[in-house]
């Protein structure tokens, strides 16, 4: 019998997590590790490993193919460009404390698409092979250029069988025309809601008047369009996080059931004067406590709230194909299924790459809308966008579930070759996956209630996760 290599990690209390390259995993003991390492596996060990898909007898037998299929399914990168993030203007009518986008003042000139750029953007989008398109309008504040949004939307509706639009807006100043625009069934709103009103005002709006205007518009949007058309994301400053209950009630009171907690990104204004890893341990602890809070609350109320990113991590542990979140993919190929077009027509693989380039740290642009994608540069970036062969990741049982984010490494450390355990990305995700596995092997009803719903199951099945002595 052949055993696919197992990596392992201490889970505490004498237990270890074992995982193979295809993401098959189980909880085992020190004794088992010893037998595994010294080639002294018992018949029971071998039967257990065989049942769990960790072995094969000969190449191309059923177990071999099952493993190969599961391995491949986890690698499958998306190849068709069908999601385009557009920045029609860099101007904004807010000055948030952590602004990530190197914004421009509302009255500035030269930060909007020219007529020429618009034409080139439409020609670029029109040339895509995808049958469906998703457009995300970023900024700046995109509603400052509603005219450009109208023209892009009109064009895409005609050009594609199905088109969807997300307007990432601060909902600060919404004109009557903008409300009409947002009312369309194919158009969605994504906004920021930094927990409670006090924090939102401190980090974003700065004055009571603007705060009230924002909440008025948010509530109107949800009332008018329904909570399924509006998503709101809190950006958390771990130095001064809002109270957990305040965050939750801000969302629940508005019918929003999914909360995506984002630590302040190490970009833009947020970079200045901070150690790149400051607050990481605090963030991890705070986030884990938030998850526990949700578990307790969900069970008590019989309703479900989720932290979006944690649910993503859970799904990635359980199955292949949970690749929706662009920060959590492997390989994380650039400019393959989504792309950013900046206010000046320059193409970037991600929003974060755009910011790094804008502050002059490194040029991560991958072409121009007039000339198309610079495939050579994309290939250079892609060579480092895969965790499978990283000298640190190959020892980590979380590798099959985890992603890779070289732009974040560049942003924090100016290089991509640090030992992974020394990076913010690795330490944050190690902590997240530790929490996922802690919960997967916890046997209480409350945990299982939340886990099942977060994983889109009707109830938590016995025998889903395996244990071996």
């Amino acid at each position: 019998m052949n055993i696919w290599p197992l990596r392992f990690r201490d889970l505490g209390c004498g237990s270890l997590l074992f995982a193979d390259d295809a993401g098959g995993f189980f909880k085992g003991t020190e004794d088992f590790l010893h037998r595994y390492a010294f080639d002294a596996l018992t018949d029971e060990d071998q039967a257990f490993l065989h049942e769990g898909g960790h072995t094969f007898q000969r190449e191309l037998d059923l177990s071999y193919l099952g493993f190969a299929y599961r391995w491949c399914a986890r690698q499958a990168p998306r190849r068709q460009l069908g999601y385009v993030i557009l920045v029609p203007t860099l101007r904004c009518n807010l000055t948030c404390s952590y602004c990530q986008v190197s914004r421009a003042p509302e009255g500035a000139r030269g930060f909007d698409w020219t007529e020429d750029t618009l034409d080139a953007v439409l020609a670029f989008i029109g040339g895509l092979a995808a049958p469906e398109i998703k457009i995300e309008f970023q900024g700046g504040e995109p509603l400052l250029r509603l005219d450009l949004l109208e023209r892009v939307r009109d064009f895409c509706r005609q050009r594609f069988g199905k088109a969807e639009f997300v307007v990432c807006t601060n909902l600060q100043a919404v004109s009557a025309e903008a409300w009409d625009y947002l009312a369309a069934p194919d158009t969605f709103i994504s906004t920021s809601l930094d927990g409670d009103a006090v924090t939102h005002q401190r980090q974003r709006t700065r004055s009571t008047e603007l705060t009230n205007a924002f909440f008025g518009n948010l509530d109107r949007a949800i009332e008018q369009f329904g909570s399924s058309k509006v998503s709101a994301l809190p950006t958390i400053d771990i130095e001064r996080p809002p109270a957990v209950d305040e965050i939750i009630s801000s969302f629940v009171d508005r019918g929003l059931r999914s909360i995506y907690l984002r630590p302040i990104n190490h970009q833009g204004f947020a970079r200045r004067g901070r150690d790149p890893d400051v607050g990481l341990d605090r963030w991890n602890a705070w986030h884990a406590a938030f998850i526990e809070h949700l578990i307790e609350r969900n069970f008590r109320t019989g309703t479900i709230l989720e932290e979006y990113y944690f649910s993503q991590c859970l799904k990635r542990v359980l199955r292949a194909g949970a690749d929706e979140h662009v920060d959590l993919r492997n390989p994380n190929f650039f400019a393959s299924d989504y792309l950013v077009i900046d206010h000046d027509g320059v193409l970037y693989p991600t929003d974060e790459a755009r910011m790094q380039s804008r502050i002059g740290r490194i040029d991560l642009s991958v072409g121009h809308v007039h000339h198309g994608i610079d495939t050579e540069k994309v290939a250079t970036l892609n060579a480092a966008s895969c965790n499978n062969f990283d000298p640190d990741c190959i020892h980590c049982p979380y590798q099959p579930f985890c992603g890779s984010d070289l732009v974040d490494d560049i942003s924090r450390y100016g290089r991509i070759d640090l030992p992974k355990q020394a990076t913010w990305f690795c330490r944050r995700h190690t902590s997240l996956f530790d929490k996922v596995f802690e919960l997967l092997y916890r046997r209480d009803e409350a945990t299982r209630f939340s886990l099942s719903r977060w994983a889109d199951l009707e109830s938590w099945p016995e025998h889903l996760v395996r244990e071996h002595q």
Partner: protein, 367 residues
């Protein structure tokens, strides 16, 4: 029940295939130049007695209407006294019974095997070529792959000539070997293989299918389907014999068979051996759904699509109802008294014609 056979009088003693065309269809065939030698046009109607004429012979059919059978492909049976409907033009449930022979003897077989075999493949081939556009044709038995030497090339020819058709083959997959890799690969997107697996352990599976070594043989042939990229619908009839072992089977499926297209958990059909052994085999999921829920959730957690076949919707707890599509073929489906006024009747497959009401589900109620 929808009739699959009519009393008939044929001008020929030998069997032959005919597509039945009422006036509009006949006119359309002339207009488009698509008429074949198998096309028979309606020439006389006398009550429920229809006369069709084709170059191969004349066929008088009793007991139906020209609208009901328009576009159907029938086989005038040897002796010329009956016509078998090979393709019903308006139905999605058309199946060719390739043989009644089988090398397994399943406890719940709905169509117990017989030794006698009549080779109808050439007629099936002609019928398939005459099928309405976009049809998926069932291939069943007995065990159809006992005749794979003729069957696989026949399927390849049909798929080549009719790029719009597909096949759904029910086979125990015992008779595939390395030499079949190429034909399987060539048909992979057009043929769905319905392959039964009843347990993750050889003893239980072999006992259910009545053949020792069947499980191990499956473990040898399933990789061949996988390597060919064949589309697989894994089928598990749930019985008292294997219900308690379902979660274990689910764990086996997600790890060793993740490449299947879907996993069908099926309720028992009370006909053939299924009727004889009903009291011993029937597992009433309406009162004990946990093993099925566990299997469904294990599969879903790992991205394997699992569905419930032949499960009346009211017997399934509400959160799982969407996994119970209407699957009982139209010609053997019926609804009970409880079904009248049910809001979900239109999307429910109802019950088998031969469902024993006095020994069936304990929990039935209109939704």
């Amino acid at each position: 029940m929808i009739p699959l056979r009519f009393a008939a009088r044929s001008s020929q003693p030998e069997p032959f295939v005919m597509r039945l065309n009422a006036e509009v269809r006949a006119y359309e065939l002339d207009r488009t130049g698509l008429r074949t030698e198998f096309d028979g046009d309606l020439v006389e109607v006398a009550g429920q007695r229809l006369t069709y004429a084709s170059p191969r012979g004349t066929l008088v059919i009793d007991g139906t209407t020209a609208e009901e059978v328009d576009g159907d492909v029938v086989l005038a049976l040897p002796g010329g006294r009956a016509a078998q409907r090979l393709i019903r033009a308006t139905s999605p449930h058309n199946t060719f019974l390739i043989t009644e022979r089988c090398d397994q003897l399943c406890l719940m077989c709905s169509q117990p095997p017989k030794h006698h075999h009549a080779d109808l493949l050439p007629f099936f081939e002609a019928a398939a070529l005459l099928a309405p556009a976009g049809t998926t044709i069932g291939i069943s038995g007995g065990e159809p792959l006992l005749y794979k030497a003729a069957l696989l090339p026949m399927m390849q020819r049909v798929l080549t000539h009719r790029p719009d058709l597909g096949f759904h083959v029910l086979s125990n997959a015992q008779h595939i070997d390395e030499d079949d890799l190429d034909p399987l690969a060539g048909m992979r997107d057009r043929v769905l293989w319905g392959i039964p697996l009843y347990a993750a352990d050889a003893a239980t599976h072999d006992r259910i299918v009545g053949k020792s070594g069947a499980f191990l043989q499956l473990m040898e042939t399933l990789p061949i389907f996988a390597r060919a990229g064949a589309s697989i619908e894994l089928r598990t009839v749930i019985m008292r014999e294997n219900a308690a072992l379902l979660a274990r089977l689910a764990s086996f499926v997600i790890m060793h068979l993740p490449f299947i297209n879907r996993w069908a958990l099926m309720q028992l059909e009370s006909i053939g051996f299924g009727r004889q052994n009903w009291d011993r085999l029937f597992f009433d999921h309406s009162t004990e759904f946990t093993p099925i829920a566990d299997a469904l959730n294990i599969a879903k957690a790992r991205n394997v699509e699992a569905v419930l076949f032949n499960f009346p919707r009211c017997t399934v707890p509400q959160p799982y109802r969407d996994r119970a599509p209407s699957t009982i073929s139209d010609w053997k489906r019926r609804y009970l008294g409880e079904c009248s006024g049910c809001q979900e009747r239109d999307i429910c497959g109802g019950f088998f014609e031969w469902y024993p009401e006095d020994r069936g589900f304990q929990r039935l109620a209109r939704i």
